[in-house]
């Protein structure tokens, strides 16, 4: 009975892991460990610089971390040194190489700190990528259900907030990681030796820099396709996108120089990332126009749909012209209410503070175009506004003056009566 339970447990364990990925055999794990271990020993043998020693140190730490869960199996499987013995042996050889190269400890520690940062950031980028993928999946699923109840909407909002924070952090970390990689060499790529170029290229591969950048752009595009955002959200997202673009503009040429003489496909991939960034940029504009259409529709302002600056201006000017015409022909109070709904509530309340800044920043609207719209809104106002107090005052003043003049004239035209005669005296 106990044995059966053990089998059930082992099979359940195997099956649960199995549903997610194919189970790796112990032999495969051992082979992979041994391949990396042999490669590290070879790197120790040929190491000539401090940076290479730091890189090897870091690879040993990675090896230990990545295979920690298999340590008991590997301890028995690796013959004759075992797992711990093998790592100790490699570290001993690395120390001997450092000694041989007269590595200055302070310099070593400084570079090691940068490499530790690279490793930490790489781990965080990986875990954030995983989290972001899960959240994007949840977001798509919730949007697919077209949720209506408050709890689901709250949950959707919470996902969007977490996702945005996760993507922002990941983007920042990728570039910080690459910065720390290049900083260790303390020189331009053009001044690097071939060995140094190969070394940094290998480390870029090992930290999945290219796939992280691609993943990041992909996730940002998917996010834009699956969320409805407000104008102020767009402002932040647009800044993040521009920030990403400018960091890539700094990094791309460095990477290009690194792979310029190599036969690696990475040179083509750099161009592909440039294209992906352009797609991201245009998707951001598309999402912005979509959300702006939605904003007008939610306020019952019926504009013909627009997907570009020209279409937007055409729709808006058309709407304003029609309203101005209608205001001059209508005599009831509804014309003022329509003006108020557009100008005070939507334009001044939402478009001006939340949408115009991002549209200006993204060069979707110029100041002249905005002035032209606002001047038309002023025309509309003049058609619908009730007279001001000053007008009443001036009209009242003129009335008083006119009445005064009339009164004066009326008094002048009155005929003079003869003075009264004194009564005759009786003496």
């Amino acid at each position: 009975m106990r044995a059966l339970l053990v089998v059930a447990f082992l099979m359940l364990g195997a099956a649960s892991g199995f549903t997610e990925a194919q189970v790796r055999s112990d032999y495969q794990v051992q082979q992979e460990f041994e391949a990396e271990y042999r490669s590290i020993l070879e790197a120790i043998r040929v190491a000539r610089t401090v940076v290479e020693c730091v890189e090897i140190d870091s690879r040993l730490i990675d090896l230990e971390l990545n295979y920690r869960e298999y340590a008991p199996m590997l301890e028995k499987a690796l013959y004759p040194d075992g797992y711990d013995g093998g790592l100790t042996k490699a570290r001993g050889q690395l120390d001997a190489t450092k000694e041989k190269l007269n590595v200055i400890e302070d310099q070593y520690v400084q570079i090691l700190q940068l490499e530790t940062r690279v490793r930490t950031l790489a781990t965080e980028v990986d875990s954030l990528s995983l989290l972001n993928s899960t959240l994007l999946g949840e977001l798509q699923s919730l949007r697919g259900q077209r949720v209506k109840d408050k709890r689901a909407i709250d949950s959707l909002s919470a996902i969007v907030i977490r996702l945005r924070a996760g993507m922002r952090d990941r983007d920042r970390m990728i570039f910080a990681m690459v910065d720390s990689l290049f900083l260790q060499y303390d020189k331009d790529v053009s001044a690097m030796t071939d060995a140094e170029r190969q070394g940094i290229a290998a480390r870029i591969e090992r930290r999945n820099v290219f796939s992280s950048i691609r993943q990041s752009v992909d996730d940002n595009v998917r996010f834009l396709e699956n969320t409805s955002l407000s104008g102020s959200d767009f402002r932040e997202i647009s800044r993040e996108q521009r920030d990403f673009q400018s960091k890539w503009a700094g990094l791309g040429p460095k990477l290009g120089e690194l792979y310029i003489d190599s036969k690696s496909r990475r040179a083509e991939e750099i161009a592909a990332i440039d294209t992906m960034l352009m797609v991201w940029d245009s998707k951001l504009d598309t999402a912005l126009w979509r959300a702006l259409n939605q904003t007008f529709a939610e306020r019952d302002i019926e504009l013909p749909p627009f997907t570009s600056t020209e279409q937007f201006l055409l729709s808006l000017h058309g709407y304003l012209d029609a309203e101005i015409r209608s205001a001059s022909e209508t005599r009831d109070g509804s014309k003022y209410l329509r003006y108020e709904a557009f100008a005070d509530s939507l334009w001044a309340g939402e478009i001006v503070p939340h949408w115009l800044p991002v549209m200006r920043e993204r060069s979707l609207l110029t100041d002249d175009q905005i002035s032209a719209i606002e001047s038309k809104i002023d025309d509309w106002r003049s058609q619908v506004s009730p007279p001001s107090m000053l007008t009443y005052f001036i009209v009242g003043f003129f009335l008083v003056v006119v009445l005064g003049v009339l009164y004066a004239l009326f008094r002048k035209k009155k005929p003079k009566l003869p003075p009264p005669q004194a009564p005759p005296s009786t003496n």
Partner: protein, 150 residues
Amino acid sequence: MRSFFLLAALVSLSSCTSLVLRPVEYAWPVERVLEVDGKGIIHDDRYMLTMNVRPLFYEETQDSVNVYGQAVRIIRDNAGYYYMTAKGFRSVYIFTESEGAMSLSSKVAVSEGPMRDPAFNQRQPYIQLLNGSNAPQMLNADGLVEEEKP
């Protein structure tokens, strides 16, 4: 005197047959993947094992000629049984050691079709058989171990 020798012989014989050393761990931590040479032989340096596997291939495929370069996967469980299989096999063969030979203890049918990517894991007290994307199976010297039905 004669009875003394008889008694001494009996005592010595009984002590020989009853001496048992326990526990013994025969288990290999990880399977060995051994390539068949041109003579149908596999050899393992770590466990100092050399054997002819032509009969094994003949039993499975009825072909003992085209065996050169094939990879035989072999693992030993804690009780000392050897489990052997190879890519394209439908069965796992369980052997015990005998004098200068390996004797088949049981042949366990594990797959309806030829296995594409078999591998053994040591999962004491069992041997786990993986086969690509198929669900893992548990084995012992008696054959497949079924999961307990609730």
